[in-house]
Every structure is written in structure tokens, then in C-alpha cells.
Symmetry: C2
Subunit: 465 residues, 2 copies
């Protein structure tokens, strides 16, 4: 069993004094800083920490964790605060370790297609750094998240259908464990059969087993040719059937994204586009000139069979980027449908054969709840997102949204899916994790208790504490 919940202790003041000695003005207890660090981009209420420590190195993180362990005070890691399930909320108080100043790209090895970064490097910063190497890092959640946060939440994004998720991207980690030790997992080898896969255990552990401070990542060569396409469909099912056939034929498409009609309307308004307001697929193809053309032709033919219309090509970078920037802003576009609202964003992932059923049943369900809810999906993976637009101060709206959310998760689980494809559990989905994983959650709790016996690492996330 996980250790008992930690009560805020009277030694917090002593701890804060020690950390101030160590960090000077990089230890903050200012109200605005605390409030900013207690919340992410979701609707979950803010729960500020008692202090925020801006660490500059792995060794400094280790020293902070050791002080917290000695005082039995919780530790909450913080990257960019762009998570969606309350992962940064300091549910038991304690010290937030902000790693955003740890933003050095430590090493890039173009020959090996890998690099090592400090955890605070963001995905856009990394790609900017790589610009002249001919390489890129493909994983792209909506936000410009930190690589540390993306690792901790097992993030993915639009390129996952071809390039995988953070599970696949990470070769090794430097982690500060609950006792303040510094541990390195993995090597720079592409594959290994050497011992337990600690790297994958920390990827997706959301700060509950340790603080990730450095990450060694796989990179990819920027393809010789890239082209994009968009296509409108008569129904979500027609779009999804196009996706299934594309995947089955082994066409190595880099991105296949679905926007439902409401999301297209939101994107048109927010990003000043004039896409047909119908279920829409966005494609991106990577390869040689000839390869990209062949992929596009094959997919165009498949789309045609399923009633696709307005199949539009974008080969000029500025047109492609405009389309994908609009896709990346989908969440913000959704929010703009109802000024002043918050989004209750959620995601599930199902076997692709059930994806059309799952989206259609979900659309029918949420059309009854009276809250605008656009749908977007990384449909090549069977993953899709809702953003239920609500007033978080309206208890009735929140209750209606939560009930619809629960029906969504139950639907996905009944179809052999998962309660979250990429957002993580945080504290928003703990009950759903239990429903999904059953007895396996007992093993997770055993591991948590073994690696964090005091229960101080981001307590109350992933698992009940």
C-alpha cells in the first residue's frame, strides 16, 4: 500500500528557510507565482504549492528533494503548466520544483539521430535548435510543452501514427528519485535487453516516482518532401473508414487528423480559414518527392471511395504550416466558441475498428447535453479528444459535463480502449484508471510504495494517496 497521506507539517517554514539559503531568490513564495504553479490549462481548480523552487541543475533538484524528504514535505515537478488533468496541483501542499530554467540542449549527435536535453527544454525550442542539422523531433502535443513534462505524461500528438509517442522517443533518462539520488536509465544504444525497462517505467509516471531532469531522445531526419491534404467527408464514419483502409494498406502517412464539423467551424472562425464545415481529415505525407506523390494518390483514391470531397493539396510550406497551426490551435479555437468559458478537455483511445462507433455514439450523446463540444482526433491511433465548453463556476454545467465524460470513458473501455490516449491521469482520471486497469493498479501501488515509501512525490496523482 502507498504510505499514508502526508499532512502539511509545521517544519515547512524551516524547509523554506533552508531552500532559500540554497537558492536565494530562486525560491519564491510570492502569491502570484504560487497561484500560477498550482494550475494547468484545464478546468481543474488551482491548488498552489507552499513555495516554488526554480532549479538550475540535476544536482540542485537532488538537493531540493533531499531537503523535502528530510522534512517529509511533498515535491511537485512543474514544466510549462500546460497539462490537462491537474498534474501540477499541489494537493498536499509542498514544494513545486520548476524546471523551466533547465533549458539547455546538452548534446546533439546528428550521426546517431539522438540528443540529450535538460527537462525544461520545450519541443519548439528543441526544433529551433535542430534547424540547421536536418533533423527534427516529431512529438507535438498541442502546447509548447517541456520535454520533461512530455516525458512525465507520455505525451504524443499528431505525428504519433508514424513516429510514435514519448514511450518510443526516449532512449534514457536522468531521474532524481524520492530519496534524492540521481539515477540514469537506459543508454544511447537504439535497443537493449539489459534489465528492467526503468526508462519506460518513468515515462508516464507523472512525477510520482521521481523528478525527470534530463532526457535522451531519438531524432529523425527532416523528410526530403512533405505535403499536406485536407478532405471533407459526408460523415465521421466515412472519414474513419478512409483512415482504417489507409493504415491497413501500410501507407506510411505521417499525420491523419480528424476534425468534426463543429471543430471545423471553430477553426475557421479562430484561424481565419474557409474549410468546408463537415467532418474533415487532415493528412501529412513525408518521404521522397516520388514517395509523397504516390502516398497522396493512394489516399486520394481511398478518400474518393468513401465520398470525400474538396480533396485539397498544400505543398507550399506556408500553406501547410497554416493548416497545421490551425490544427494545433484547435483547443484555443474551441474555447473561443464560447467566450469566457473553460474547456473540460479529455481524450480516449480505442481500437481503430471501434473508432467510428465510439465517435458517433459520443457525438449523439453530447448533442443532448446542451454544452458545445468540438471533437478532434489523432485518428490514425484511434485517439480522439473532446473539449466540453463550460462555466466552471456553474455546478450544474460541471455535473452535466462530468457525467458525459464518464459515459465517454465507459464507452471507450467497453470497446477495449483506454481512458486516456495522451493526456495522462493527473488527479482527474484516477477513478477511470482503476476502472480500466483493475488489479494492475495494485501492482502500480506496490511499485509506488517501493520507490516512494514516504509518498512525497507528486502525491495524489495517478494513484490515490
Amino acid at each position: 500500500m502507498v504510505a499514508e497521506p502526508v499532512a502539511r507539517t509545521t517544519s515547512n517554514a524551516a524547509l523554506i528557510a533552508e531552500l532559500t539559503d540554497m537558492l536565494g531568490d530562486r525560491l519564491s513564495t510570492g502569491r502570484a507565482i504560487l497561484d500560477q504553479h498550482g494550475k494547468d490549462e484545464s478546468w481543474h481548480p488551482a491548488v498552489p504549492p507552499d513555495a516554488v523552487a526554480f532549479a538550475r541543475s540535476t544536482e540542485e533538484v537532488a538537493a531540493i528533494v533531499r531537503r523535502c524528504a528530510a522534512h517529509r514535505v511533498p515535491v511537485v515537478p512543474f514544466g510549462t503548466g500546460t497539462a490537462l488533468e491537474g498534474g501540477v496541483a499541489a494537493l498536499r501542499g509542498g514544494i513545486c520544483i520548476d524546471i523551466s530554467h533547465m533549458n539547455e540542449v546538452v548534446r546533439v549527435s546528428p550521426e546517431d539521430l539522438d540528443c540529450t536535453v535538460q527537462a525544461g527544454v520545450t519541443r519548439k525550442q528543441l526544433n529551433e535548435h535542430l534547424r540547421d542539422t536536418g533533423l527534427f523531433f516529431p512529438i507535438d502535443p498541442g502546447a509548447d510543452a517541456s520535454i520533461g513534462g512530455m516525458t512525465a505524461t507520455r505525451a504524443s500528438g499528431t505525428n504519433a501514427v508514424r513516429y510514435g509517442t514519448m514511450k518510443d522517443a526516449v532512449l534514457g533518462l536522468t531521474v532524481v528519485t524520492a530519496d534524492g539520488s540521481i539515477v540514469r536509465t537506459g543508454t544511447r544504444a537504439r535497443k537493449s535487453a539489459a534489465g528492467y525497462d526503468l526508462t519506460r517505467l518513468f515515462v508516464g509516471s507523472e512525477g510520482t516516482l521521481g523528478v525527470i531532469t534530463e532526457i535522451t531522445l531519438r531524432l529523425f531526419g527532416i523528410p526530403e518532401a512533405i505535403s499536406s491534404a485536407s478532405c471533407a467527408f459526408p460523415s465521421v464514419r466515412a472519414a474513419v473508414d478512409t483512415v482504417i483502409q489507409t493504415i491497413q494498406m501500410g501507407i506510411p502517412v505521417a499525420r491523419i487528423e480528424l476534425l468534426d464539423a463543429l471543430q471545423v467551424r471553430a477553426v475557421n472562425a479562430y484561424s481565419k480559414l474557409d474549410l468546408i464545415e463537415a467532418p474533415m481529415l487532415l493528412f501529412e505525407f513525408h518521404g521522397t518527392d516520388a514517395g509523397v506523390a504516390e502516398q497522396a494518390e493512394l489516399v486520394g483514391a481511398i478518400a474518393d471511395e468513401h465520398g470525400g470531397r474538396g480533396f485539397q493539396w498544400a505543398t507550399r510550406p506556408e500553406d501547410r504550416n497554416r493548416l497545421w497551426a490551425a490544427r494545433h490551435d484547435a483547443f484555443y479555437a474551441a474555447l473561443a466558441l464560447r467566450p469566457g468559458c473553460r474547456g473540460m478537455p479529455t481524450d480516449v483511445c480505442v481500437p481503430i475498428s471501434r473508432l467510428a462507433d465510439c465517435i458517433e455514439e459520443t457525438r449523439a450523446d453530447i448533442d443532448t447535453i446542451g454544452l458545445l463540444t468540438p471533437i478532434v482526433g489523432h485518428v490514425g491511433d484511434g485517439n480522439f479528444h473532446l473539449s466540453i465548453l463550460l462555466d466552471p463556476d456553474d455546478a450544474e454545467e460541471v455535473a452535466i459535463a462530468e457525467a458525459a465524460h464518464e459515459r465517454l470513458v465507459n464507452r471507450a473501455l467497453a470497446m477495449g480502449g483506454t481512458c486516456t490516449g495522451e493526456h495522462g491521469i493527473g488527479y482527474g482520471k484516477i477513478a477511470y484508471l482503476e476502472r480500466e486497469q483493475g488489479p494492475a493498479v495494485g501492482l502500480m501501488r506496490t511499485i509506488k510504495a517501493a520507490l516512494d515509501p514516504q509518498g512525497l512525490m507528486n502525491p495524489g496523482k495517478v494513484l490515490r494517496s
Copy 2:
């Protein structure tokens, strides 16, 4: 810390009686059966178990493990016995659970490109089963291993450069834990951010955390076109430079295998081929007709730049299969170079930029030891294998080989690599795992102690017990 080693207890006889009641003649204590189950295909000495239980179902495995736990008797899982680091040796005695009768393909979902198999299904059996679906399972270690064993050792093979390893292939598992509980990990969703990645923790745990009884696997569509090529090079470095450039250009080659000159000689003799006896690359390309032709043309040009000669194409299935069958028999071909010998097979994996250095230094080293040692490599991954041919009864030869092996591992570790790319740790590489992973081994021991507090699951493997 891991529990104390388990002494053989006097209750073994009682346990065997209980298991005989449960299993009838599927509980064997016959000498030949015991001997067969105590050894794998390597040079490691046989250590037979006290009895072998041929299980037929997950529930039966659970019942056996519960009886063993009650009597504090070790459990050693056994698939096909084709491992290479002594993983099946019953170092502390106990009950071997042979899962080879659990050989049912439970479900294939062509639309989702996945399937679920019992752990005793072998990779060839699975592909035979899939033959009419247009799908295949790409992971191919040399032997026709069980999927359970491949999962437990994080196996890979020649297709890993394109299709990944067992780490990537497994979507979810059914596992019997040390207390005899049945736990399911993962779902059928392609990706998930739901909780700790228990699936990846069990993949590669070599039976030390539980017994894997069912596996849900990703499958792939059989490509429309497949072609192979072989090419001889003036040096290992020229061959490896060809590989590096191929990978960097993002050419999606399915297989790139290196055979050194001695291995080519062995293959020619064993498989009745007439390949040029020089460092050689074997390629396989998967895709559309046009895509395969384009890949081949690009790689041919790269090989040409590096002095490749005799670039030969094989598009007819019978020619391709002959070439790859010869590659798969490389270990047996090596053994045939010295009739009556055993192989000390080992593998390391390094960043690809160091691969030529690592192979050349290794070749120079082993050329001095007086023992024939062919080299083959999954060079697209930076992974290569030695088979040191020795007389296991000659202590001097064994000592010479072990010293060369240690130098190999040290060389790979110094280059940022791993002590095993795909064979696993077993009991042959425990010291090297410790050298490679350092403090991370402490975390592995903590996890082992938490999930197997009595230390009964395949004791003495991966970690010291």
C-alpha cells in the same frame, strides 16, 4: 533489497505430490525432461529443475505459482529453451513451468492489426496462422522462439530497424504475479497515457517478476512488394558507413544485416551459397513496387560510393527466402565451422556512429585469441553478435573466451552502448548489467523485492539473489 536466496526445502516432495494431483502426467520428474528444461542453446551449463509442470491455461499457471509460493519453492518459466544467457537454468531448483502447450492464437483482428496469443505460440506458428489475413508479425530472433519467451527477453531480430522490438510490439499482457494473482496490463488501444507502463516493465523482465501467459501484439500488413539485396564491401567500416548514410537519409529499409568475412564463409559452407567472402550487407526493402525500387536505387548508389561490389538483387521469393534462411541459420553455420564445439554467443549494441570502431576493434581483439569467432550484426540498430566457438570442457578456452567477452562489453559500454541488444541478462550478464546501469540496478532490486518479496520468480536471473 531482494529476499535471501531460497534454499531447497524439504517440502519439495509435498509440493510435487500436490502438483501431480493437479496436473497428472503433465507434472514430470523424468530425468530426460528435467535435463532438457535446465538448459538453453548457449554454452551455459545445464541446471535442471526439480520438476516440470506443463501448464495449459493462465488459471493453471496461477494455481501452480500459488502452490510454489505456499511452499517457498522457485518458479522458472520455459518456452522453447532457445535463450542464450541461461535464463531457464533452475539455479535454486524449483518448478519449471513449461508453457509450450499454451499455443492457441486466441484472437486476430485484421482491422486493428493486432492479435492475442497464448505465451507458448511460436513466432513461426503465428505467422503460419496469419498467412491468409495479409498480415504478419515481424519480430524474428534466430530461433523459432515462443512469443512468451520473446516477450520475457525483449527479443528483436532482423526487422527491428523498421518494425521495432518486443518493447514496441506488445500492447498488453496477462501475467501471473509472484502471489499467483492474474493481472492484465495495457489495453487494445494503440497508445495510452494511463498510469505506469507495467507492460514495458514485464517485457524484458525474464520471468523474474511474474509468468507471462498471454500477449496482445501489434501486427503489420504484408507489404505489396519486397525485395532483397546483398553487397560485398572492402571493409567493415565501408559497410557500416553505408548503413549510417542509409539511416540518416531516412530510407525506410526493413532489414540491414552485416556478416563479416568469416561469417560469410560459414554461411556459404552451411547453406551452400557462393557469396563473396568479404564483409557483406544484406538488405530487405518493403513497400509498393515503386517505393521498393526507389529505396533500392538509393541504397545501391550509397553502397557504390563506399566501394560496394556485387550488388545483387533477389526479387523472387525463393531467392529472397534462401538468403534470409541462410542469415537466420548464421549461428548454426558458425557452430559448423568447428564440429563438436559450443558457441559462446553474445551481443552488444552501440550508437551507430561508434559501430564501425566497435566491430573493428573487436575483430582485431578476437583475431588474437585463437578461437574462431564469426560476427553478424543487425547493424541498422547498432547491434552485433559474436559467436566464440569453444570446447566448454576446456577451461583454458572458456577463460580466454570470457576475457574477450568482457573486453567486448567494456568496449561497448565505453562507447555509450549496452551489454546486450537482444539476448538478455539471464545469469550470464548480471555483472555487466551492474557495470552498465550502476545505481539504476538498485531501483531494479527495489522493484523486484516489492513484486516478488519471497524471491521465488526465476531467482538468480537479471539480478543477483
